[in-house]
Symmetry: C2
Subunit: 412 residues, 2 copies
Amino acid sequence: MPLRVDAERMRADFEALSSFGATPDGGVARTTFSEPHLAVRAWFLERGRESGLETHVDSAANHSVVLPASEPGARTLMLGSHLDSVRRGGRYDGALGVLCALEVVRTVQDCGLGLPVALEAVDFTDEEGTLIGLLGSWAMAGILTKEILAAPRGGRDVLVSELDRMGLTEDGLIAARRAPETLAGYLELHIEQGPVLERAEVDIGVVTGIIGSASFSVVFSGEARHAGTTPMDARRDAALGAAAFVLGVRETVVTGFPGCVATVGNIETEPGSFNVVPGRASLRLECRSLDHDEQDALEDALTARARAEAERHGLEVTVERLGRWEPAPTDVAIQEAFERAAAALGLTSMRMPSGAGHDAQALAAITPAGMVFVPSEGGVSHDPSEHTRWEDCVNGANVLLNAAVELARASV
Amino acid sequence: MPLRVDAERMRADFEALSSFGATPDGGVARTTFSEPHLAVRAWFLERGRESGLETHVDSAANHSVVLPASEPGARTLMLGSHLDSVRRGGRYDGALGVLCALEVVRTVQDCGLGLPVALEAVDFTDEEGTLIGLLGSWAMAGILTKEILAAPRGGRDVLVSELDRMGLTEDGLIAARRAPETLAGYLELHIEQGPVLERAEVDIGVVTGIIGSASFSVVFSGEARHAGTTPMDARRDAALGAAAFVLGVRETVVTGFPGCVATVGNIETEPGSFNVVPGRASLRLECRSLDHDEQDALEDALTARARAEAERHGLEVTVERLGRWEPAPTDVAIQEAFERAAAALGLTSMRMPSGAGHDAQALAAITPAGMVFVPSEGGVSHDPSEHTRWEDCVNGANVLLNAAVELARASV
């Protein structure tokens, strides 16, 4: 008989949790270290204390609720996600994972299972990137570098003043690193943030890895000319190269890289007036793959396509890589534990990559890590209308619970 | 023997004229009613007065230098262009036409030809559109409407305050209309602003008409989705429709509308982040034809193409026409007079449309109008690097002179 979480308690806590930073449109606004974010983190620890669990806040402000192991000196199996949100976010992204982790820890405690490892429910700091993105999990994994701290996503000044305001230091962030030998693994439940599970009518997604990504600036250059007096055959129109490349990006991925994605999200033309032939067109491109070598090949193919379209349209082109995150495969034993747990609960499951970044990709650097996805209605996320059916939330929590118990017992 | 202008006098005046609003990069900055613009207009009248010619400023601030006819009550043959420039303009656009008009009037005066019509060299107000565009010529042609005044290109507040500052009124602008029966025609010399004459190695362009144009806002709508978690086949990417349309615009014109032009000068995607699939892509399109029916057909074809690309990519599209200027054919007798003048001077000429707008298109509404083009190096205009060889400037002035004299003599 598979174990089951206390769905009523979890539901009440979900409603309470969703009230922190609640917005009138049904979403939440809980950017890192905002007043509602600080409040929800305090609430999370209080829920743990109420249940007689230990609580812990590390020097990267990661918040934990801990059920100690039956034996002292045991390793820790971590379960977690993040309570911060994007500026106009939904109730589920991150928060559901922390709540399920808490509920799993409480259920194990309630059942008196006496596991041979400690169970720790973690709320990681700044996953969404108000300051840096994956701040807390990078810190815990020991991969938060001085370079990252020097050029944070939200700006260096904001980082410095926010750390100061919160009584944190850069040395403290780096000192939050956990020794890998103290960890038994990391499990994370998250909403899918895409349409795959809903379209396939499958209950549970077992994540095979978190895909890598790279972002590029691509600039086509031609000649800005009078749109009335310059015949079509005398033009070097930068917008034509950009347009051909946008279509070429899709064609390249669809025909040569199934399972990958690539996106041109931004196009700017100069001078940008409809009575001047564009002399310059700038694009922002990103592409994602689950495999290191495939990511290399995809980047090469897209760069070659940009050069080919430039040549075809008599333009110059520059391609500059802005950043790259390596793909992070998940642990196969954890994938199998999730599949067994789902099957035991009578739920359907499918393996799938994560196209979005998650704290699990940081933890995968130091401990076996795995993720389980629950469906997102319409694939919507990072939006107040983000929604997951409550039944799916409970299903996910039960899969997390049973996999965690199996892995904890097997990990001695 | 064809007549010839005083090239030395014209050269000295061109240098003097180019010093008004001169910029370090060799261009000029003479936006409407700026200090250098007011100064160059005063200089223009002063050059006329120095030659013993009459001067006139109408209630639309059009500035004229006039050589009266040999008989009172005669009609007027106008020659002109504009002394204002775009913000960062070149020395030739507009200014060369006014200078050549002045030089033609002075040469006719010097030669004592005693023409049966008055010759008037006109500097039209605000051709380039600091305030409205073609302001003075529209006013003179009686086609400046309350609607145009209500929504001027430079903004209503700017128009109102600038008119006030210059002692002008909207009623005055409208009252600047000339009675068609007082006019014998309008001739304008202008730089080509395109590469056609230079590429064909032809001295003189005889303008067959000023092409019409229409501008459109085209908006493709899909769904903004997470760029990592939304598979390629689950996307409704607005940028794909926009890109296909940009290429389709070119294909439509090249294959079906030779001699026409169409341009997408501006593309904006929303939300405009490279990690979000664009949910919306907005374009600014314009297209130009020399013929009314062809312009209709071109607009229809481009609109149909937008709808076809939207359907092909699973998007919605809206196409809104922002404005339309009708094509303005030039007078055939004037075209022939320019051709005879060029031939008599040993110059090569070719017929060509004007892809850009000019004061002549306004005057064509009330009197036979014609234009002659001289080559633009590299087709460049509206830029400080705009350049026409001095020999070409003199050739143009001589063609304008001989055609004006022939037409003046024939117009009784």
